[in-house]
């Protein structure tokens, strides 16, 4: 299949035959279209979030600019452009300016690897509906989400102000702890991609999508990986995005605005845009990794049959956008220790265990049994060790006396 695919796409990653101008043109068109579509969808996403949250809170929500207030984001953006751009006196000016770009550029770049649709043939040239399909695909995504940590961290650090610093310390600790669980749940997907297609060990998002497209739903990674990695990925990615209930880095009730407190004008707008762009990108990535991307029943409709997979992709992504807004409206913010407990004590062990089980199942039956037995044993020991000390409350109430008598030391 790999040979057929690369032949059909005329895949030639090193361009050993030189670059034809049509290939360049296709890339430029893809980039421009993806860029503008992303900006437009960010605009609509901000509006959608505000409107949906207001619906869930029995309010009316934005309804002045444009039909149903759809132009509200545009109005806000224009306003932000014309506001005064403040640089705090104590800030590190260069890093302060850099941080906003470090936040928004990865948000744009990460979307490049998402397969939006299938193949399109125009005037004899076949190309993928995807800005880029690098062989390192999903690693690129993880790299970009790591770079955006720098944006947040440096923004808080360079502001020369305490609340932004607190926000950025929280943000970097949070993002680093959840990245491990994120990577582990992606590994499960990659393991299955490697075994079910001939593209051995492929990280390419196109290969991930293709490996899921045998039957509708049943062949999606959601089912094949056993749902758990999807749940872990969803929680970890929500924390990575700093969306509620994991929005400690910009907890308004605790640390003013968090890392972006000192930012104003369009520099603030860039952080804001990056946040929503990441929401869209990550919803698309969830769809790519676990829901078959543009996979779905298609029909031949004139020349527009390429559009149906795109619609499938958009529909699936929309479900997750709705979910993100719903989560924001429904859940209260976690405390910092709860956040860390969830990350280190639940998500990372669970994702590690699941990755081990799946890997063992791929290698062989006895490995599978052995790993499960080992995990059960290890888990039981760990649980026992964790419960030591937590039962102290019972001892105090009961008649059994500890080393200091019934009531403990004075």
């Amino acid at each position: 299949m790999a040979g057929v695919l690369s032949h059909a796409l005329a895949l030639d990653p090193l361009y050993s035959h030189g670059v034809h101008w049509v290939e360049l043109l296709v890339v430029v068109v893809k980039v421009v279209v993806a860029f503008s579509a992303l900006i437009l969808s960010v605009m609509l996403m901000v509006w959608f979030e505000r409107k949906l949250v207001s619906d869930m809170q029995a309010r009316i929500g934005p309804n002045r600019a444009g039909p149903w207030g759809m132009m509200q984001t545009l109005a806000d953006g224009i306003k932000l452009f014309f506001k005064e751009d403040l640089l705090p006196d104590r800030s590190d000016r260069f890093v302060f300016k850099l941080a906003a770009y470090l936040s928004i550029v990865p948000a744009f770049l990460a979307f490049a690897i998402v397969p939006v649709g299938g193949l399109v043939t125009i005037a004899g040239h076949t190309f993928e509906l995807q800005v880029a399909d690098p062989p390192i695909g999903i690693l690129f995504l993880l790299a970009m989400s790591s770079v955006s940590v720098y944006g947040v961290m440096l923004a808080g650090w360079s502001s020369g102000s305490k609340y932004p610093l607190l926000g950025s310390v929280r943000a970097s600790a949070q993002m680093i702890s959840y990245e491990a669980a994120l990577g582990m749940s992606v590994i499960v997907v990659i393991l299955l991609t490697a075994t079910t297609t001939n593209i051995v060990g492929s990280l390419s998002t196109r290969a991930i999508v293709n490996s899921q497209s045998h039957t509708f739903f049943a062949s999606w990674n959601l089912i094949r990986t056993g749902i758990v990695p999807f749940v872990l990925f969803l929680v970890a990615i929500t924390a990575e995005l700093q969306r509620p209930p994991f929005d400690l880095a910009e907890a308004d009730t605790e640390i003013v605005g968090g890392f972006n407190t000192e930012y104003s004008s369009i520099r603030f707008g860039m952080f804001f845009m990056a946040e929503f762009m990441n929401v869209i990108t990550m919803s698309a990535v969830i769809v790519t990794l676990f829901f078959g991307g543009p996979d779905g029943p298609t029909a031949h409709v004139f020349v527009l049959s390429w559009l149906i997979p795109v619609l499938w992709f958009l529909g699936k992504t929309f479900v997750f956008l709705f979910l993100y807004v719903w989560i924001r409206a429904a859940l209260p913010r976690l405390r910092y220790d709860q956040l860390m407990n969830l990350g280190w004590k639940v998500l990372i062990p669970a994702s590690l265990a699941w990755a081990l089980v799946v890997a063992a199942a791929i290698v062989g039956r006895w490995w599978f049994v052995g790993v499960i037995a080992g995990l059960v044993l290890g888990g039981a020991l760990l649980a026992r060790s964790l419960f030591v000390g937590t039962t102290r409350g019972d001892l105090i109430g009961s008649s059994t006396s500890g080393p200091f008598g019934v009531r403990g030391p004075r």
Binding site: M56, Q57, A58, R59, W326, A329, A330, L331, P332
Partner: protein, 262 residues
């Protein structure tokens, strides 16, 4: 605590998803404020008026009790002896200076409670955004009702149609005359433009709903309550059918009202 309760407790946060979805199906509690204004509660505390008797005499006797009781120190009153040949008020003295500073007033209504002659009462006007400090101080000329007993309308005040109908009459904080057994009895003296006003609904019943149109708002708020928190006649299926019936009646009333206007 057994395991089942423990798990249920840990997963109780999922209830938030149900609550938020349920809100989407219910009517909004907010309104398009400047375009669409909600009816005001009957006891709303707004800007003051100085009332006059039915013969046109001022009720204020310049006793300064209102100024004394004011917790915000916003009232300034000076009393003077009535001129012999043309008295302003029926008593010995009258208030010849009467000023309220609305930058300080907190609309607590204690002046209204303190007034022995029901001279000062509060209208329900709250939309009066003056743009300089001089305008914030309302003098006697501005507070006093006109020759028909209606409050004077200043350029920056947003009086709505029918607003000046419920400007005056003294209302106790708790029930008519502070005693439920006086419910339904007229408790105040007659005044210019209104004569003797009908007593308010009091603690029982919702007789004031007809006058204020506030029932709709209360019904909307009631929809957002948990069923157990609603009044008995609004609970369960019976409550739902009552609401539906009220809605139909309301729509019929609105249609009839529109036809009447034409």
């Amino acid at each position: 605590m057994n395991l089942r309760d423990d798990v249920r407790g840990r997963l109780s946060f999922l209830g938030g998803f149900k609550v938020t979805l349920r809100q989407m199906t219910r009517p909004r509690v907010t309104a398009q404020y400047p375009l669409e204004k909600k009816p005001k509660p009957i006891r709303l505390h707004g800007r003051h008026v100085l009332n006059r008797y039915e013969d046109g005499m001022e009720k204020c006797i310049g006793c300064e009790l209102c100024a004394g009781v004011c917790p915000a120190d916003c009232i300034y009153v000076r009393g003077a002896d009535n001129p012999r040949d043309e008295p302003v008020s029926p008593g010995e003295r009258y208030g010849y200076v009467y000023e309220i500073n609305y930058l300080r007033c907190i609309h607590c209504d204690m002046c209204v409670e303190a007034c022995p002659t029901e001279a000062i009462t509060e209208s329900k006007l709250f939309e009066f955004s003056f743009t300089n400090r001089a305008d914030a101080v309302y003098t006697r000329d501005e507070l006093l009702v006109d020759d028909e007993g209606r409050p004077r309308q200043l350029p920056w005040e947003d009086w709505r149609e029918g607003d000046d109908l419920h400007t005056s009459a003294w209302m106790r904080a708790t029930s008519p005359s502070g005693d439920a057994s006086y419910e339904g009895r007229v408790q105040w003296s007659g005044e210019l433009g209104y004569g003797v006003r009908a007593p308010e609904g009091g603690q029982s019943g919702r007789r004031d709903d007809e006058a204020t149109g506030i029932r709709e708002i209360r019904d909307v708020y009631q929809l957002h309550l948990d069923d157990a928190d609603r009044p008995p006649d609004a609970q369960g299926y019976r409550g739902a059918s009552n609401r539906a019936r009220a809605k139909v009646a309301l729509r019929r009333g609105a249609i009839a009202h529109r036809r009447g206007k034409r």
